[in-house]
C-alpha cells in the first residue's frame, strides 16, 4: 500500500505545476467574470430596452450552451482567428460562461435592495451611476454572497474541463500520470482532495466575509 501511494510524492512537481495552473486559470477567469457579470446584471435591469435585450440574450444563450462546447468553440474557432493559445481560450471560455450566471445573481441582488434606497440616493442629488456604485451595489453584493460563493466554486470545478483544450491543469496532469503509472485510485483520489481543498478554502473566505458584513446590518 505504501509503495502504491508513492506515485504522489514522486510526481509532486508535476501535480504542483498542474495545481498552480488550475489556480491561475480560475483566478483569471474570475477576474473576467466578475466585472463582466456585474455589467451584464446592470444592463439587464437597464431602462433602455435595447441594452437589456442584449444582456438577456447573452445570458440566455450562454446558459443554454454546454461549457464544453463553448470552450471548443472559443479555442478552435475564435482562437484560430485571434491567435489565442489554450490558456487564454480557457480563461475567456470559463470567464464569459460564468459571467452569465453572475449577471443573474447580481440582478437578483439589486432587485432585493429596497426601492427607497435608490430614491434616497437620487433625492440627495446623486446620479444613477453614483447611486448604483455607492448605495445599491454594495448592499446587493452583500446579499448575494452565498450564491456568489457557489458560482465561484462551480467555476473552479469547471476549470477541469479546460484539460480538453490541452491546458495542462491539475486534471490533465492527473490524466497523463494515470496513463503512465496506472495508479488510478491514488492519483484521482489525491486530485479530488486537492480540488476540495481549494473550494473549501474559498468558501471559508466567503463565509468570513458574510460574518463580517452581518455585524453591520
Amino acid at each position: 500500500m505504501g509503495s502504491a501511494w508513492n506515485v504522489i510524492p514522486q510526481n509532486m512537481h508535476l501535480l504542483w505545476d498542474g495545481l498552480l495552473l488550475t489556480l491561475q486559470l480560475s483566478a483569471c477567469a474570475l477576474l473576467v467574470s466578475i466585472p463582466v457579470g456585474i455589467l451584464l446584471g446592470l444592463c439587464r435591469i437597464s431602462g433602455n430596452r435595447v441594452v437589456s435585450f442584449l444582456a438577456v440574450s447573452y445570458v440566455e444563450f450562454i446558459r443554454g450552451v454546454p461549457l464544453l462546447v463553448l470552450l471548443f468553440w472559443i479555442y478552435f474557432v475564435l482562437g484560430k482567428y485571434l491567435k489565442m493559445g489554450p490558456f487564454l481560450a480557457g480563461v475567456f471560455g470559463l470567464g464569459l460562461f460564468s459571467a452569465a450566471f453572475i449577471a443573474e445573481i447580481v440582478r437578483a441582488g439589486i432587485q432585493a435592495v429596497p426601492r427607497g434606497q435608490m430614491e434616497a440616493a437620487r433625492s440627495s442629488g446623486m446620479t444613477y451611476v453614483q447611486a448604483m456604485r455607492f448605495i445599491i451595489l454594495p448592499q446587493a453584493m452583500r446579499k448575494v454572497l452565498p450564491p456568489m460563493a457557489s458560482q465561484f466554486i462551480t467555476l473552479i470545478k469547471d476549470s477541469s474541463l479546460v484539460s480538453v483544450i490541452s491546458v495542462v491543469d491539475l486534471t490533465l496532469v492527473a490524466k497523463n500520470l494515470v496513463s503512465t503509472t496506472f495508479r488510478s485510485l491514488e492519483v484521482w483520489t489525491f486530485v479530488a482532495i486537492m480540488y476540495f481543498c481549494i473550494t473549501f478554502f474559498l468558501s471559508q473566505i466567503i463565509s468570513a466575509l458574510e460574518r463580517r458584513y452581518r455585524v453591520s446590518e
Binding site: A120, A121, S123, S124, G125, F134, Q139, S216
Partner: protein, 242 residues
C-alpha cells in the same frame, strides 16, 4: 420658493392629483394634511421629481422641476427629502450616511464632510451615535440621522413625507422637536403629517387635500377652529375626537 401650477396626474382613470395650484413663500412651513389616498405623498414627491406629473408645472427656487432641460441632480441637491421609512443606507455608519452625498455630489473633502456630519448629528442629539449603523439605532434616532443627511447638503427647501408615521409613539416627539428646531431657523418646509397638534403649532399654512384636490388652504387657527369646507369638517371631527 415653491410654485405649483395647474398640476395633474392620473393612473388610468384614477386622478391622483387634480388641478393643483399652490404657492409656498420662502421661510414658510406648510403642512399637507388629509385622508389617506388624498394625494399628499404624491404631491410632495413630485416636488423633487421622485414622481412624474402629466400636466402643469412645479417650480422650486426658480427652476422648473419637471422640465427635461433641468439638471435634476443639481436641483435635488438643493432640496432635502425625509422619508416615512427613513431609507438610511444600512451598510454605512451614521456619519457616513450624512457625509456621502456632500462628498460625492458636492465634491466636498471627506474630512470636511465628516466634520460637518458630526456637528449636524450632535446638534440633533446623536453625538454618541457617529459610528453606529442604522440597524443599531431606534426609529427615532434613524429618522434624526435622515434629517441630518438631508441638512448636510445645505438645502434651500426641506420636504418631509410623513416623517413620524413609522415611529413608535414615544419616539415621535424627538423627531418633531428636530423639525420644530429647523422651522425656527427659517427653513422653507413642506410637511405631510398626521400630527395635527404639531401642524397647528409650527405651520404657517395648512393645505387640506382630499381625493387628489386641494380643498382648503388656511392658517392653522382658521383651519382647526373654523374650517370652511364640509370635507375638512368631517375629516377633523374624525381625527380630533377619537
Amino acid at each position: 420658493m415653491i410654485q405649483i401650477k395647474q398640476v395633474n396626474k392620473s393612473y388610468g382613470s384614477v386622478n391622483v392629483l387634480q388641478d393643483i395650484n399652490l404657492e409656498i413663500p420662502e421661510s414658510n412651513v406648510y403642512a399637507l394634511i388629509g385622508p389617506s389616498g388624498a394625494g399628499k405623498s404624491t404631491l410632495i414627491r413630485s416636488m423633487n421629481a421622485l414622481e412624474k406629473i402629466q400636466t402643469g408645472e412645479i417650480i422650486v427656487d426658480g427652476t422648473s422641476v419637471h422640465d427635461r432641460r433641468t439638471n435634476i441632480n443639481k436641483l435635488r441637491s438643493d432640496i432635502g427629502f425625509v422619508f416615512q421609512s427613513f431609507n438610511l443606507y444600512p451598510h454605512l455608519t451614521a456619519v457616513e450616511n450624512v457625509a456621502i452625498a456632500p462628498v460625492q455630489v458636492k465634491k466636498v473633502s471627506k474630512e470636511e464632510a465628516t466634520e460637518k456630519a458630526k456637528k449636524l448629528l450632535a446638534s440633533l442629539g446623536l453625538g454618541e451615535k457617529y459610528d453606529s449603523f442604522p440597524g443599531q439605532l431606534s426609529g427615532g434616532q434613524q429618522q434624526r440621522v435622515a434629517i441630518a443627511r438631508a441638512l448636510a447638503m445645505d438645502p434651500k427647501v426641506m420636504l418631509f413625507d410623513e416623517p413620524t408615521s413609522a415611529l413608535d409613539p414615544e419616539m415621535i416627539k424627538e423627531v418633531l422637536d428636530a423639525i420644530r428646531g429647523l422651522a425656527s431657523t427659517g427653513m422653507t418646509m413642506v410637511v405631510v403629517t398626521h400630527e395635527m397638534g404639531f401642524a397647528r403649532e409650527i405651520c404657517d399654512q395648512i393645505v387640506f387635500m382630499a381625493a387628489g384636490r386641494i380643498v382648503e388652504v388656511a392658517s392653522p387657527e382658521q383651519f382647526f377652529t373654523d374650517p370652511k369646507s364640509d370635507r375638512a369638517k368631517d375629516f377633523l371631527s374624525k381625527v380630533l375626537n377619537h
